[in-house]
C-alpha cells in the first residue's frame, strides 16, 4: 500500500491574486481603532504604529518579512488534502477543502519554503489560520516533515511559525498521527544538531502545541499571542470558573517557563539572525 497518492496536478488557482489582502489605502487597528496607511502598516511588519497590536498575518506576509527581498523557493506547493476516511459531517470533507482553496487561494494550512534571511539560508514552515482554522491534517504534517528533511539535507536552520486551532477533525486518526510524525522528524533534526526555532503566534493551541510548537531549541512567541493545549472555552467549562486575565497569553506562558522570549515582529528577522549567528 502506498501512502502518498500521486496525482499529476493539483488544483490550479491564481494564488497571488487571492492571497493579497484587498489593498485599501487605510488600515484600521482592531485594538486601538486608530487608522494608518496600509503601506505604513505593512512597513511596520503589520503591527499598529500606535499601540503595537500585532495583526494576524499569514505565510505570504511572514515570508516577505523574513526572506531577503522576498526571495524564496517554495516546497511542495501543490500538495493538497486527500480524504482517507471519506469523512462527511454537515458537508463532505473534499467539498470543504475545495471551497476553502478557492476562498483563500491557499492549498492547505501550511506553506514551506527556503531562502536567504540576512544572507544566511533558512528553511521556514509557516501556518495559515485562514485555512480551516490552521488545523493539522496529513498535508500540514507531511509538508512540515519534508521541510525538516530539507533542513537536514541542506544543513540549514529550521523555523516553524505556528498559528493553529489544533487537529483537523475530518482526518481523525490521521490528524493525530501528524503529531507523532513531526516529532519524529524533530528528533532527527535534534540529533543532527541543527537549530530549530519555534515561533508561536496568535493563536497556537491543541495538537500543534502538544507537538512541534513546543519542541524548539528556542520556543518564542509574538506579544499577546494565545498559547495553550486546551482552548480557553474548554478550560472554563472544566473548572466552571472564569479564567484569570491574561491566562494563556504569551506573557503568561513566558512567566511559567515555557518560552525563551517574546519578540516584537519588527525585530523578528534580525533577532533570529543574531541568535543563529551565535550558534555557529
Amino acid at each position: 500500500m502506498s501512502w502518498f497518492i500521486r496525482k499529476d496536478k493539483g488544483i490550479q488557482t491564481p494564488t497571488e491574486m487571492k492571497r493579497e489582502a484587498p489593498d485599501g489605502l487605510w488600515y484600521q487597528c482592531p485594538n486601538c481603532k486608530k487608522v494608518m496607511h496600509t503601506r505604513e502598516h505593512k512597513l511596520n511588519a503589520y503591527t499598529c504604529v500606535h499601540c503595537n497590536y500585532h495583526e494576524k498575518i499569514g505565510s505570504d506576509a511572514y515570508f516577505s518579512i523574513l526572506f531577503d527581498d522576498n526571495q524564496f523557493t517554495e516546497l511542495d506547493a501543490t500538495m493538497i488534502s486527500a480524504d482517507p476516511l471519506n469523512f462527511v459531517d454537515t458537508k463532505a470533507y473534499p467539498d470543504r477543502v475545495k471551497s476553502t482553496i478557492s476562498k483563500t487561494g491557499l492549498r492547505d494550512a501550511v506553506r514551506t519554503a527556503y531562502g536567504p534571511m540576512n544572507e544566511e539560508q533558512i528553511t521556514i514552515a509557516c501556518m495559515d489560520f485562514g485555512f480551516i482554522g490552521g488545523s493539522m491534517g496529513s498535508v500540514v504534517g507531511e509538508k512540515i516533515a519534508r521541510a525538516i528533511d530539507h533542513s537536514l539535507k541542506t544543513n540549514t536552520p529550521f523555523l516553524m511559525i505556528s498559528r493553529s486551532g489544533g487537529a483537523r477533525m475530518m482526518e481523525a486518526g490521521f490528524s493525530l498521527m501528524q503529531m507523532a510524525k513531526t516529532s519524529a522528524k524533530l528528533a532527527l533534526l535534534a540529533e543532527a544538531k541543527i537549530p530549530y526555532i519555534s515561533l508561536l503566534t496568535d493563536p497556537t493551541t491543541g495538537g500543534v502545541t502538544a507537538s512541534f510548537a513546543m519542541l524548539g531549541d528556542f520556543n518564542i512567541a509574538e506579544p499577546g499571542a494565545l498559547i495553550g493545549f486546551a482552548g480557553p472555552r474548554v478550560i472554563r467549562e472544566t473548572i466552571g470558573k472564569d479564567l484569570p486575565k491574561g491566562f494563556q497569553s504569551a506573557e503568561f506562558v513566558l512567566d511559567h517557563g515555557f518560552l525563551d522570549f517574546i519578540v516584537d515582529r519588527k525585530d523578528l528577522k534580525d533577532k533570529l539572525s543574531s541568535l543563529l549567528q551565535m550558534l555557529k
Binding site: 500500500m1 501512502w3 502518498f4 497518492i5 500521486r6 496525482k7 493539483g10 501543490t78 500538495m79 493538497i80 488534502s81 486527500a82 482517507p84 476516511l85 469523512f87 462527511v88 459531517d89 454537515t90 496529513s138 504534517g141 507531511e142 516533515a145 487537529a167 477533525m169 475530518m170 482526518e171 481523525a172 486518526g173 490521521f174 493525530l176 498521527m177 503529531m179 507523532a180 510524525k181 516529532s183 519524529a184 522528524k185 524533530l186 528528533a187 532527527l188 540529533e191 491543541g206 495538537g207 502545541t209 502538544a210 507537538s211 512541534f212 510548537a213 513546543m214 519542541l215 495553550g228 493545549f229 486546551a230 474548554v234 478550560i235 472544566t238 473548572i239 479564567l243 511559567h256 515555557f258
Partner: protein, 317 residues
C-alpha cells in the same frame, strides 16, 4: 453486580432467566439441566450475534464500560511481581498515570498506563484517567529509567484525554506531551503500546509512541471523542453516533488505516465479562511481541519506529 449497556440488555434478560431457573431447581429439586443448557447456548449465540455486529458507537461505549479492566487490573493479573514507582521529581505524583517495574513471564519490564477509578471516590482520585503534565513527566522519567537498565517498556493507554485544567496549562500540558512524543521515538529499548480502553487525542498519544502499537478489539483511538467531534462539527452533542461512524476510531478501522500495528481479541462479550481471560490474552500477546522486538538491535528498532510514524498520512500531489 454487573452493569449492562443498552445493547447488552437482551443478554441480561437471558442471564436473569438462567439465574431464576437455577434458583427454581435449588428450591424444588427439579432437574432443569436441559433448560439450563438451552439458555446457556442461547446466551452464547446472542452474545456472539450482538458482538459480531457492533456499531462504532457501541464499541466506544464498551471501551468505557464501568466493569472494564483498567491498567492496574492488568498489572495485577499479568505480573508475578510489581513495584509501583511514584512522582515526576518536580511537582508531584499524578494518580491518573501509574507505572513501575514488573515481572511478566519471567522478564522484568516497565509498565506505565493511565488509571481510571472504579467508584466515585477513586474516579476523583484518578481524575477520571486524565493526567496532568506531571503524569506525562512521570511516564517519561520511568521510561528513561527502563532504558538505563535496559528493560522493555509496556504502556497501557486508557484516557478520555489529557486534563484540560488551569494548573495543567500553567505547568505546560502541551510541552509535556510534545516532549514525550520526541523522546519516545529514540528510546533504545523495545516499546509496546496497547490501547486498552479509550485513546483520546494527544493525551493518549503522549504515551503511545512504540515499536508496536496495538488496540484491544473494543477500544477506540482518535484525535477527539465522538461527543466532542459532534459538538464541534455538528454544533450539537446529539450526533455522536454519526461522529463515531465518520471518525472510524475502532481497532479494526485504525488497523485498516495503517495507523496501528495490530488488534488484540477480547473474550466474546467483551473484556469486562472476563478480566482473567482478557489479561491472559494480553500477556500472551505481550510476550510474543517482546520476542519479536528483542530480535532487533536498538538501532533497527528506532529507525523502524521513526519510519513507521513518518509514513502515516495520505495526501494528493
Amino acid at each position: 453486580m454487573r452493569t449492562y449497556l443498552d445493547f447488552e440488555k437482551p443478554i441480561a434478560d437471558l442471564e436473569a432467566r438462567l439465574e431464576e431457573t437455577r434458583k427454581l431447581a435449588e428450591r424444588t429439586g427439579v432437574d432443569v439441566s436441559d433448560a439450563v443448557d438451552i439458555l446457556e447456548k442461547s446466551i452464547d449465540k446472542l452474545q456472539f450475534e450482538i458482538f459480531q455486529n457492533l456499531t462504532r458507537w457501541q464499541r466506544v461505549q464498551l471501551s468505557r464500560h464501568p466493569d472494564r479492566p483498567y491498567t492496574l487490573d492488568y498489572i495485577e493479573r499479568m505480573c508475578d511481581q510489581f513495584i509501583e514507582l511514584h512522582g515526576d521529581r518536580s511537582v508531584r505524583d499524578d494518580p491518573a498515570m501509574v507505572g513501575g517495574f514488573g515481572e511478566i513471564g519471567g522478564q522484568s519490564v516497565m509498565i506505565i498506563g493511565q488509571q481510571k477509578g472504579r467508584n466515585t471516590k477513586q474516579r476523583q482520585h484518578r481524575n477520571f484517567g486524565m493526567p496532568n503534565p506531571e503524569g506525562y513527566r512521570k511516564a517519561l522519567r520511568l521510561m528513561q529509567l527502563a532504558e538505563k537498565f535496559n528493560k522493555p517498556i509496556i504502556t497501557l493507554i486508557d484516557t478520555p484525554g489529557a486534563f484540560p485544567g488551569l494548573e495543567a496549562e500553567e505547568r505546560g500540558q502541551g510541552e509535556a506531551i510534545a516532549r514525550n512524543l520526541r523522546e519516545m521515538m529514540t528510546l533504545k529499548v523495545p516499546v509496546i503500546c496497547i490501547v486498552i480502553g479509550e485513546g483520546a487525542s494527544g493525551g493518549a498519544l503522549g504515551i503511545a509512541i512504540g515499536d508496536r502499537v496495538l488496540m484491544l478489539e473494543n477500544a477506540w483511538y482518535s484525535v477527539i471523542s465522538p461527543e466532542n467531534c459532534s459538538t464541534i462539527l455538528w454544533r450539537s452533542w446529539n450526533y455522536k453516533e454519526q461522529a463515531a461512524e465518520a471518525m472510524k476510531p475502532t481497532a479494526r478501522d485504525m488497523k485498516q488505516a495503517g495507523l496501528i500495528d495490530g488488534i488484540v481479541e477480547e473474550p466474546i462479550g467483551g473484556a469486562h465479562t472476563d478480566h482473567a481471560a482478557m489479561a491472559d490474552i494480553l500477556k500472551t500477546v505481550i510476550l510474543a511481541t517482546l520476542e519479536e522486538l528483542n530480535a532487533l538491535t536498538p538501532q533497527e528498532r528506532i529507525s523502524q519506529r521513526i519510519d513507521k510514524f513518518c509514513n502515516m498520512g495520505v495526501v494528493l500531489e
